[in-house]
């Protein structure tokens, strides 16, 4: 997958490119908005990472063009962490906002989230018993409490919540959440399921995860 990187600092450009390559992406580099738009006449990208402060057309303007005209999701990168800038960023249509200095892992994490979110027709909201799952923000709401849990656990809970009362096999869970059905993840699945159970109980959820021996798991609504 190709990602456009626009930044006037050559080192940052290269750095982000290297980080993207390590994350399995291909990077397309531009030093300013002008060059970026020229490149996009012939090239296609899945998302763009844009620096706010650039000579010529600034990051906000470029973001507006990218999101409105070309339908490319944008992550804005800046040293300014201030609220007004953030608001300006979201106004111009950026999907996310990253403040310098950031960790490369964080950039990849956010990029993944955006790509997953963008253009994918998925049911964003799931509701079972007194819990609601928001697949775009990865929040679990139980009653008046919002819970943020590790991603893997969220995904497991989302799979179970999509079909409450139905048993989901361990194999399917491993495939969907870990991407492969491998024995080395078996233990991990158990641990995550146990933690998830504890969390649901502790925060007063009206659902319970039941183990179906030898098959998998099932989400039951408590009465």
């Amino acid at each position: 997958m190709r990602i456009l990187v626009v930044d006037d600092d050559v080192h940052i450009r290269q750095l982000i490119a290297l980080q993207l390559q390590q994350g399995g992406y291909e990077a397309l580099l531009a030093q300013d908005a002008q060059q970026a738009l020229e490149l996009l006449e012939t090239e296609e990208v899945a998302a763009a990472i844009v620096d706010v402060m650039m000579p010529g057309m600034d990051g906000y303007e470029l973001t507006q063009t990218l999101t409105d005209d070309l339908d490319i999701p944008v992550i804005l990168v800046t040293a300014k962490g201030q609220l007004t800038d953030k608001a300006k960023g979201f106004e111009s249509g950026s999907e996310d906002y990253l403040v310098k200095p950031f960790e490369p892992q964080e950039l990849l994490f956010r990029l993944q989230a955006i790509l997953r979110r963008y253009g994918k027709a998925m049911r964003h909201h799931l509701s079972v018993g007194n819990i609601q799952l928001d697949r775009s923000s990865y929040d679990v709401v139980i009653g008046d409490e919002t819970l943020i849990i590790p991603l893997k656990e969220f995904e497991l809970l989302a799979i179970l919540s999509a079909t409450p009362g139905h048993t989901i096999s361990r194999i399917r869970m491993l495939e969907e959440v870990w991407g492969e059905d491998d024995e080395k993840h078996e233990l991990s699945l158990n641990t995550h399921m146990n933690r998830l159970r504890d969390r649901l109980k502790k925060h007063g959820a009206s659902v319970e995860i039941q183990t179906v021996r030898g098959v998998g798991y099932r989400l039951e609504v408590l009465r």
Binding site: L15, L147, P150
Partner: protein, 458 residues
């Protein structure tokens, strides 16, 4: 506060009353000094004319009555006294048809009576009272009998028309004057109100406000120089903000590079190689330096004695939610469970600074909580305050460090963790204090820390 407009109206009112009093006093003096004398003399001439006619008529006593009746009809009040002391009124009768001792001497001694000053003679009104003491009296003889004639013009006939007109005239002058004053006061105080509003806007860091005052007088000049001042302030403010942004950008960009490339070295190096550790140290220090740069810039502006909060309505629950969600990655990295229990609350505050508070507190909580730990953000409100608690199950703060954590550059137990600048909580404390709130930190070592921020709703 007494408004300027009210003061103006009140003062005009007082002046109106005062002018009426002074006016009356002056007329009073004028009347007593000149007019009264004149009127008395005139009345006396009238009375003497009447009596001389009566004396030359050679009629008998019977003829007096119809004659005096007709004189009275011309607009006079007349009392006729005979030597036996009996009185007869012609025209509108007086309040009391009794002669004073002084008046009785007209008949008994044949002297001329020019009225008497009563107890309230300082006021001219007493001279208009419907009393015999305000008449002039002259003696005369008819048929060898001595009579006294007391006379004065009938004021009730005199006053009616012209006086009503005069009164209406005076009242309308007073009314028009008063209304004019009110209008003038409004005109003068309106631009002052506008100026006050504009200074408040400037105090809140809003320089886009322009005074809508177009006048050719001193107030117009004041408004012009005020607008020029705002223009200069706006330029200064923009320059300051641009400077901070530029400094921040120019500091952070190289730090991103240092950190990023150090990480690349770390990734390429063998875990056991010294270069792996060295790269890690470079990363950590670059992170610390970049945090320090940000915090010092913030502190340098907070420390200015003229620092003004940019107040606005802040929806705390939304703000907290937004910041917590920007921490997703860091939570994920440490496999933390984060629960939010937020009541809705909107307060008057500086949104940008409050964001710094939550950012610092969440950053601490994440930094000092072990993998798999828990974090809770709870906001409760009551009538006057909002309480925001950020609770973690982290390593906690030692009892001897707890009183010092809000001091600048204070860092507990340096050997344990090298991250952090020692400025985070100092900044939090400063911002909370600027919002007239309180910061309370409780901690048990190895069990966790709870930071409670209390902010007033108003």
């Amino acid at each position: 506060m007494k408004s300027l407009y009210r003061q103006f109206v009140q003062t005009s009112g007082w002046f109106l009353i005062l002018s009426v009093v002074i006016g009356l006093m002056i007329t009073n003096i004028f009347y007593l000094a000149f007019t009264k004398q004149q009127t008395t003399e005139q009345n006396l001439t009238r009375a003497q004319e009447v009596t001389s006619i009566l004396e030359t008529m050679h009629g008998d006593a019977e003829a007096l009555t119809p004659f005096l009746d007709s004189v009275a009809n011309l607009g006079y009040q007349i009392v006729l006294a005979d030597s036996e002391g009996s009185l007869q009124s012609f025209g509108k009768p007086f309040e009391d048809v009794v002669l004073s001792e002084e008046a009785q001497r007209v008949v008994s001694d044949g002297v001329i009576y020019t009225g008497e000053d009563g107890a309230l003679s300082f006021f001219m009104t007493s001279h208009f009272a419907n009393r015999i003491t305000n008449t002039v009296g002259v003696p005369f003889e008819v048929d060898g009998e001595v009579y006294g004639l007391f006379l004065r013009p009938d004021l009730s006939l005199l006053s009616s028309d012209i006086h009503t007109l005069l009164l209406a005239f005076l009242l309308s002058i007073a009314l028009v004057n008063l209304l004019g004053m009110l209008w003038m006061a409004k005109q003068l105080t309106k631009p002052i109100g506008l100026l006050r509003q504009a200074t408040q806007e400037v105090a809140n860091d809003n320089y886009s406000h322009s005074l809508g005052i177009e006048r050719q007088d001193e107030i117009g000049e004041l408004a012009d120089s005020f607008n020029r001042m705002i223009e200069r302030l706006r330029e200064n403010d923009t320059a300051r903000k641009t400077f901070i942004t530029n400094v921040s950008h120019d500091l952070q960009s190289p730090l991103v590079n240092i950190r990023g490339y150090a990480e690349l070295i770390e990734n390429e190096a063998d875990v056991n190689a010294p270069s792996y550790q060295h790269a890690k140290v470079i990363q950590q220090e670059a992170t610390r330096l970049s945090g320090l740069a940000k915090q010092l810039l913030l502190l340098s502006s907070l420390d200015q004695p003229t620092y003004q909060l940019t107040l606005g309505q802040v929806e705390l629950d939304k703000q907290l939610k937004q910041i917590v969600s920007s921490y997703r990655y860091r939570f994920e990295e440490n496999q933390l469970e984060v629960s939010l229990k937020l009541e809705r609350a909107t307060i008057q505050a500086d949104a940008e600074l409050l964001e710094v508070v939550w950012d610092n507190l969440l950053s601490n909580a994440t930094k000092y909580t072990q993998e798999g730990g828990q974090l809770a953000v709870i906001m409760e409100t009551d009538a006057s305050v909002v309480k925001i608690r950020i609770q973690d199950s982290g390593i906690g703060i030692a009892a001897q460090d707890l009183p010092h954590v809000t001091e600048r550059f204070y860092r507990a137990d340096l050997s344990r963790h090298t991250e952090g600048t020692g400025l985070g909580l100092a900044i939090v404390n400063e911002i909370v204090t600027l919002h007239k709130g309180t910061l309370q930190i409780e901690s048990i070592e190895q069990e966790g820390t709870c930071v409670e921020v209390t902010l007033p709703i108003l």
